[in-house]
């Protein structure tokens, strides 16, 4: 029976002139480090360059379609971190028609002075980390009768999945509260914050136009 082969990775005795050990995969190590750092930088750049791309947001079950396309009072766009707009002084003339349930086709008129009125108002476009969000409110006889979402983060399937669950919940809460004081939906913090801010700006715009919600 032949003797067992000697171990391949035996310890070498320390030499007096100790030389630095060369790693067997030195080139591959350097390559891996370079590729890793380059990939990190490249991916970061890719994420930054694609974060602003906008895609058409698909309809979500349980959410109404946009309430009106014309004659709507719109609040200006603002970033998510800033305070909601409280005045609509710079926007187009208000299309508030106290006699009708919506203001979609009414001619521009002076803001009414009555507290109970009707109209459709767009909120500010709130830029969140995952994309812009904009809501539209319908106020009927002093009641918040509908909240539609005109735009929401939908660049990827994950955003669409999260928002498909969160937005109907936020709508229900807003209609129940008759205000923008809605709870943050778990797992949809950015959407909730953007939704709340856009909703608040829409209500502020309505108030500036003389249409208030009486809770």
């Amino acid at each position: 029976m032949p003797p067992p082969p000697p171990p391949t990775a035996s310890r070498t005795p320390p030499s007096p002139a100790r030389t630095k050990r060369r790693h067997p995969a030195r080139s591959a190590r350097i390559g891996a480090l370079v590729v890793s750092c380059a990939s990190t930088g490249g991916l970061g750049y890719l994420f930054a360059s694609t974060s602003g791309s906008e895609a058409a947001a698909p309809a979500i079950a349980g959410l109404p379609a946009p309430l009106a396309t014309t004659g709507v009072v719109t609040a200006p766009t603002q970033p998510a971190t800033s305070a909601p707009v409280t005045s609509a002084a710079t926007t187009a003339p208000a299309a508030v028609d106290p006699a009708a349930t919506t203001a979609t086709t009414s001619a521009p008129a002076a803001p009414p002075t009555t507290a109970a009125a009707s109209g459709v108002f767009n909120g500010s476009v709130i830029d969140t980390r995952y994309g812009p969000i904009e809501v539209q409110v319908q106020i009927t006889d002093g009641k918040l009768s509908e909240v539609a979402v005109l735009e929401y983060p939908s660049d990827d399937r994950k955003s669409r999945r999260i928002n498909a669950e969160a937005l109907p919940t936020l709508r229900t809460e807003a209609l129940t509260a008759q205000a923008a004081t809605v709870d943050t939906v778990s797992g949809a913090t950015y959407t909730s914050n953007g939704y709340t801010q856009s909703l608040q700006s829409a209500l502020d715009t309505a108030r500036a136009a003389g249409v208030t919600v009486s809770a």
Binding site: H23, A25, R29, A32, L43, R129, T189
Partner: protein
């Protein structure tokens, strides 16, 4: 500025996952004695060790960037204690556990001779579960988890990993039977 941290969090997370999978595959091929003739076994082991350390370094950068991101909602406690994250508790838990297993695998490899071979091997094998935890963490929490590129990468990585694990198990069984 916080956007930079967010992009860094995502990028380092992706790179750390790729490095961890690469290190796992190299390690399994090495331990299965399936290293081919082109490269020596020492080359495979050296690269395996290095990629493992690099994966841990990028994991550290991933955690640091998420801590520095004021919008991430992740604090020190959420980063080190499993199950303490608010909205995404399970997804975060997998990530924390993966980090611990990477730490165990890397930091027990340096003083390897202080452990018995059996203990060290079991400690080191926890990194296999760690890579799986990291994959689940990325799939559940990753912003890019639903992109086609990520899904293809995940499938390829999982296929290679399963192949390497199967190779390792088969070689261990065949060696045990030949004794």
């Amino acid at each position: 500025m916080n956007q930079v941290f967010w992009y860094t969090t995502r990028a380092t997370g992706v790179v750390a996952t790729v490095l961890a999978v690469g290190s796992l595959i190299l390690g399994l091929f090495f331990s299965a004695r399936n290293t081919g003739a082109k490269r020596t076994a020492a080359w495979w082991l050296d690269l395996h060790n290095y990629l493992g350390g690099l994966a841990l370094a990028f994991t550290g950068a991933h955690i640091l960037a998420s801590l520095l991101d004021p919008d991430s909602g992740i604090g020190i406690v959420q980063a080190v204690v499993p199950g303490t994250a608010h909205a995404t508790a399970w997804a975060m838990t997998w990530g924390v556990l993966a980090t611990y297993t990477f730490c165990i695998a890397v930091f027990t490899s340096w003083p390897k001779r202080r452990f018995s071979r059996r203990v060290w091997r079991w400690l080191h094998l926890t990194s296999v579960a760690g890579v799986a935890f990291g994959g689940v963490h990325a799939y559940q929490l990753g912003t890019d988890a639903t992109t086609t590129t990520f899904e293809i990468g995940l499938l390829v990585g999982a296929a290679f990993s399963i192949y390497a694990v199967a190779l390792r198990v088969i070689s261990a069984i065949s060696r045990a039977m030949s004794r």
